[in-house]
Symmetry: C2
Subunit: 472 residues, 2 copies
């Protein structure tokens, strides 16, 4: 017996209904991107490993899928030279020797590579989006896959806060179209740097941000304890306490932070970087207000995603009515293309998490109802003569954009009904000899039960009965 | 100095204009597929090598890209056991040991795997399309890539010739929408088998088809010479001569072939399979006529693509006004899923060659002119106050689907004009302080030079000036 085939763990097949849902999400997002003047690029699934290695940290390097060189991959390799003193093979070194290519791990590094490679053809500021799968040799688990789509939008070549505003507007519009309530959280890397500076520990940005993040979960005392463990002094902790106690509206918070950064904190230290970050935040919130963004937008000082390469704004989006992690996130980076030899390019971007957005729409039952049927009208097959009679009718409807099927075999009607039912086809035509002789077509609305006879060439009347827009 | 980054040979980046062209092709094709009730599936890029190996012949196995197992791929492998007597490493065997997965080589085998794996969830006849990249470690050359998209449409689970008709109609409609004149060539595997049978050499189908194919190029005598070399007898060659001399309309050709197959050839042999193939051809051409297909459709007895697994109709589509190989092809197969343990499933499908169709549209200048501009209107940036004034206007236009940009920086106007020019943006707004004070917006048509002032909230008038459809 042949074994039933399967797919690699952590990968997925998407059937027709899942694809319809995914395409609905992608088409909505793409439509919004386009109204802001962003357009699509595609990069190859395989990149040279020299492009990918060292860009995601040591852990990331391990998670890269490597593609074996084609041809006689091992023929010219001295396998012995890859053994250590105990005779064990060094897989990392050997795999570098026999694999020159790897699968894309994200869309950010290929984008940076693209910008540098094509810098002379590109018009800056460069507004691009990219929707492609990425691959990671992560341990598969619920909600984590080895192949998944990323959906990135970035503008590179401008430092204007208008770019940040656009991304907030894009998020607002996308989730308004998807009918999902979201909260947009904003932070700024320069402000986080500023906090570390006025604490007197400019190199402890990460520790201080982690501490701020834990406040809700473990409380002020535990946070202070942890800070001491990290080597922070009492006076530094006093400053952190001042930060943690910030409250009020966004503008009140910004004003209080401005006072702390300007020398008004317990340490009396001033942070120019922090003040610059506050200018950015203030400008962005002013623009968000001018734009009439309808989703709530708030400052979240604990937001630290991608801390290692973000240099300005940091974004995260959460669904308000469905418990799932962040569904969208991003930030500003000043040195994305520096790794490939093009310094000084500032950009900002966000990434939509398609899998999670899918789960949110499923969980909240927000997918449009008509996504589950692909065919509007099924012509039952009553025999060869009836079928030939109907083929031109089907053609006229299809040419006008209606999805029409003729059942291919003149099977028992029960079987054809089942087909319509399983495919959720809303209209059925059982046009037999009598209708054919009379030059008519019978159409039944399977939902309401209403049934009507049409002249076979009165396509507009049939379209109207099918609920299809009739062109004038 | 950092080396300028590059991508693996045989792969490509697609910039914004190429993507717009490719999306235009894919969207057109998808739109037509949908009107025939086909819907999309996606399968993972990586398949288990056990799914892929042995499906594409020995040569195909060599062209598979193999993905190195993640983790310590070589750690548990006894490298020594992969050496032959001369100490040379057997790359094929070793790569099987260290690679369990490979990249998809086509969409056909993953489709067969999908049908078998999900047979209990699928409604048959199963009408699916799939548009995804495939990877082949072929020697890269002009027009041949290591990563390229396939665009397949198949129906599986019916033997009706209505399925073949639908594919012909799909081809006809797609190329009519793309404004490309095509010739649809049809052959039938059973007819080819029939020819071999009435020649008395039922196992020489391939040789005989190749001979028929060469007639145009090398002439009758050379073909006969070659046939003798393959071991065919004089009487067999006499039958081939009779086949080669077939002429007339499609129905005349079918009638002549029917007479040959029925015992009227020089050999007097009868082929039941051949007669069955002629029934299929006759039925299909009858349906094509009933459907009013507008592209020319003709029988081509030399058409032999995929001879090894096609069992009925064979299709090929050529562009009439542009010299390039076939741009679309396919056929009927009776045993696609048998390799995975599900016998008796007949299906038929075709594949659109996106790269070649792109070349045809470029060569014939058939891409819509508006594909090269992504943004309809650029608001020049005259400073922060003007920008804030314009943000709500931009929002209203975007919400109605118009692609609008606000230049992010208040750079010199020359630079902003250049940006509009390089991006082929057709409308520019230079709205300065005067307009702002008057509550107006200035819009200029950069093509005609016409310039107009609008009230800032008269969005419908602005839409009309931009040539955008205004909703009622």
């Amino acid at each position: 017996m042949v074994q039933k085939p399967s797919i690699p763990k952590g990968t997925r097949d998407f059937g027709q209904r899942e694809m319809a849902g995914r395409n609905y999400i992608f088409d909505t997002i793409k439509g919004v991107f386009k109204t802001f003047g962003y357009s699509q690029i595609d990069t190859p699934a395989m990149e040279n490993l020299s492009t990918l290695l060292g860009k995601y940290g040591e852990e990331g390097d391990k998670l890269l899928f490597r593609v074996l060189n084609s041809g006689d991959a091992f023929g010219k390799v001295d396998l012995e030279s890859f053994r250590d003193e105990e005779g064990k093979v060094n897989s990392v070194a050997l795999s570098k020797e026999v694999c020159e290519k790897g699968l894309r791990y994200d869309l950010t590094v290929p984008f940076a590579r693209f910008v540098v490679q094509h810098q002379n053809e590109i018009t800056f500021p460069f507004k691009r989006f990219q929707i492609q799968p990425v691959w990671r040799a992560d341990r598969p688990q619920k909600g984590r896959y080895r192949e998944f789509y990323q959906c990135d939008v970035d503008v590179i070549g401008s430092r204007s806060q208008l770019c940040e505003l656009e991304l907030v507007q894009i998020v607002d519009r996308v989730f308004s179209l998807l009918d999902v309530n979201v909260l947009v959280k904003i932070n700024n890397r320069k402000v986080l740097t500023g906090f570390a500076e006025i604490c007197g520990f400019p190199d402890k940005v990460v520790d201080i941000t982690v501490a701020i993040d834990k406040l809700d979960k473990i409380g002020l005392e535990a946070v202070e304890e942890e800070m001491r463990g990290k080597g922070l002094t009492d006076s530094a902790i006093e400053v952190i306490e001042q930060i943690l106690k910030l409250s009020g509206t966004t503008s009140e918070k910004i004003a209080s932070m401005r006072s702390l950064m300007g020398g008004g904190s317990a340490s009396g230290l001033v942070s120019e970087t922090g003040l610059k970050g506050l200018d950015e935040l203030e400008e962005l919130f002013g623009l968000v207000e001018a734009a009439g963004v309808s989703s709530p937008v708030e400052i979240d000082l604990s937001l630290a995603r991608g801390l290692n390469y973000y240099t300005g704004a940091i974004f995260e989006v959460k669904a308000l009515d469905f418990a799932i992690g962040s569904i969208c996130g991003g930030g500003r980076y000043d040195n994305l293309t520096g790794i490939f030899g093009l310094p000084g390019m500032s950009g900002v971007g966000i990434s939509f998490g398609a899998d999670r957005i899918y789960d949110v729409l499923m969980g909240l039952d927000k997918f449009p109802k008509d996504l589950k049927s692909f065919t509007t009208l099924l012509f039952a097959n009553m025999g060869p003569a009836e079928t030939r009679y109907l083929i031109p009718v089907a053609k006229e409807l299809r040419d006008r954009g209606v999805a029409v099927e003729i059942y291919p075999d003149s099977s028992k009607l029960k079987k054809q009904f089942d087909y319509a039912d399983r495919k959720s086809i809303p209209f059925l035509s059982i046009t037999g000899e009598n209708e054919m002789v009379a030059g008519q077509v019978n159409v039944k609305n399977l939902v309401s039960g209403e049934q009507k006879l049409f002249k076979k060439d009165d396509i507009e009347a049939i379209m109207a009965f099918l609920g299809q827009p009739v062109e004038k």
